[in-house]
Amino acid sequence: MGRYFAIRIGRAALTIVLVVTFAFVVLRLSGDPALMILGPEAPPEVLAAFRKAWGLDDPIWFQYLDYFHAIAKGELGRSMRDGRPAIELVLERIPATLALTLPAFVFKVALGVPAGIYAALHRGSAIDRAVMMTAVAGFTVPSFVLALILVLVFAVQLGWLPSGGQDSWRHAILPIATLSLGGAAVLARFTRSAMLEVLGQPYIRTASAKGVPWRKVVTSHALPNAAIPTVTILGFMVGTLIAGAVVVESVFAWPGVGRLLVVAVANRDLAVVQCILLLVAMTMVTSNLIVDFLYGFLDPRLRAKGAHA
């Protein structure tokens, strides 16, 4: 069991290193931060001074090692734009993002999972078809399109809700709706197919054959089994709590982590981008670890395997 998780954690750490390295390389190769921040008209000596101040004139592998060295010491660097520690900039945006993603997560689960279960239990019914059509639509329509549609309808046409900004709770409604609908569609589809798979299993027929009322067959035999694959997708969604709202935050001008990322990338504000990516990689990896734990809890077959070690 210990070895199992040692391997998992080792793999998680490697994932983080790879993500950070990739980001580092791509950002350095795709543009000169000095030019981006100071502008093309800046005098050469100013540019040179800027590069020297931020260590941009060192060889790239040196910068890379330096960067990892700093991370190891817990220093994530400073923003090249205003000189504040990157971590501070990022942390102050997190509550805004969570204000969207946490309620959205709750709505996704509350909408998607029951819809999927209901559709599976009434396969072929009108409601099943309606749920599936909605789900496919939610699945295929990109979130920025959905966001724009919602803005057109509820902000422009009806004028019920604001189209952007972060002044009151009413401003959060449309971004949360956008995030919830797409996620609920994914969850509904996934839950439905997991449920259908389970309902076709012989042990469901066994339960019915021993006189278990259908409602109980569903709750105590089908659901625990269907939960196993559904947890995977839920884990993935938990992993996107921090960074999953990039598009939506941009469309609705919501000052969260996602918007900070977009701005930082545009400006080649290296420390900030890297800080966000590190944070995102860590949440992803952590949620994957949690999913692995949950698997062991939900599926005795995996538990038994772990217990042998």
Partner: protein, 327 residues
């Protein structure tokens, strides 16, 4: 004596395609009846339909009575009392027949709670006793194990224990040993017949294996394309099959001793349920087919007190016999 179960003209169709085309079975208390037939003959569907276990889109008609009470169309609550309580069922594939995420104790106690009003320690003690009965060693400890921790033969024993939990009057065993190795098959069949003797439970043994059915049943019904074509006491059926299909099945079975003979294979394949031939469904493969065979489907007719055959040839020979008797 009124029968335990009587099935009359049971018909099942899926999307308008008939798979069961009028089945009659009478089952007495404590009796062991075998249902033999090839895949698609309807032997499992008969009992799944009788217990309301088919998918909702199945169209079922006819009558299934248990102690005189109609089961078809009965309310779900009444069926739930019958299933597992009066009629229990075990299935072919032991590996997937038990819920993988629940302990054996939970799955056994579920039936005890439903049908015996036991709970807590009493249910657990009874579950342990049932595991003992079916020969699972170290029952007390094994109760907390999950299905994947047992071998195929042991899972089938647990299935039998679960079936016994509700003290049923009838056990339907649907290909209970098909997925098991020969020596384990022998163990399970012996267990089934021991239980049947001791508890006086009636049994329906569904199998494609003529040998299994012949050895374990008093009476056998041979099914073909959704109908019973011959019904007879086991020893008579195998010694002297009357229906050409029953003859073919027995001739197709290679002997294990005595001289080797060429197998009498039945030509062709089972007809597609969506395109049943007119008249007798077996006629296109029958060596003794006559013109009349394609006109109308022969009904199951008595040829002796305890034998019935659905074949016009058999009817003819019976008439001939009666004619001789009358002279």
């Amino acid at each position: 004596m009124s029968p335990l179960v009587s099935i009359r003209d049971l018909r099942v169709a899926f999307g308008g395609v008939p798979v069961l085309r009028g089945v009659d079975i009478i089952l007495q208390e404590g009796e062991a009846v075998g249902l033999v037939g090839e895949s698609g003959s309807g032997k499992s569907v008969t009992w799944l339909a009788a217990l309301g276990l088919l998918p909702r889109h199945a169209q079922v008609s006819g009558s299934v009575r248990l102690d005189g009470r109609e089961l078809l169309g009965a309310p779900a609550s009444e069926l739930d009392q019958v299933r597992g309580g009066r009629i229990a069922m075990i299935f072919q594939d032991p590996a997937s027949a038990l819920n993988p995420v629940l302990t054996i104790r939970r799955q056994l106690c579920e039936a005890l709670i439903l049908h015996r009003n036991l709970s807590g320690e009493a249910a657990k003690a009874e579950a342990r006793r049932l595991l003992d009965v079916v020969g699972i060693p170290d029952a007390g400890r094994r109760l907390e194990a999950y299905p994947h921790e047992f071998s195929g033969g042991q899972v089938q024993r647990i299935m039998i224990a679960m079936a016994l939990a509700g003290n049923p009057d009838l056990l339907i065993a649907d290909e209970p040993t098909t997925a098991l190795d020969a020596t384990i098959q022998a163990q399970i069949l012996e267990l089934l017949s021991a239980i049947r003797r001791e508890m006086n439970i009636a049994m329906v043994l569904i199998s494609h294996d003529l040998g299994v059915v012949a050895e374990n049943c008093d009476r056998v019904a041979v099914m073909y394309a959704g109908r019973i074509v011959e019904q007879a006491p086991s020893n008579q059926l195998f010694a002297d099959p009357v229906h050409p299909y029953a003859q073919g099945l027995i001739g197709a079975l290679p002997p294990l001793d005595g001289p080797r003979r060429r197998l009498t294979a039945i030509p062709g394949t089972v007809p597609d349920p969506a395109q049943m031939p007119d008249g007798c469904a077996f006629a296109p493969r029958c060596a003794m087919v006559a013109e009349a065979c394609s006109v109308s489907a022969p009904s199951l007719a008595r040829i002796a007190d305890d034998r019935a055959v659905a074949c016009i040839r058999a009817e003819a020979s019976r008439c001939a016999l009666l004619g001789i008797a009358a002279e």
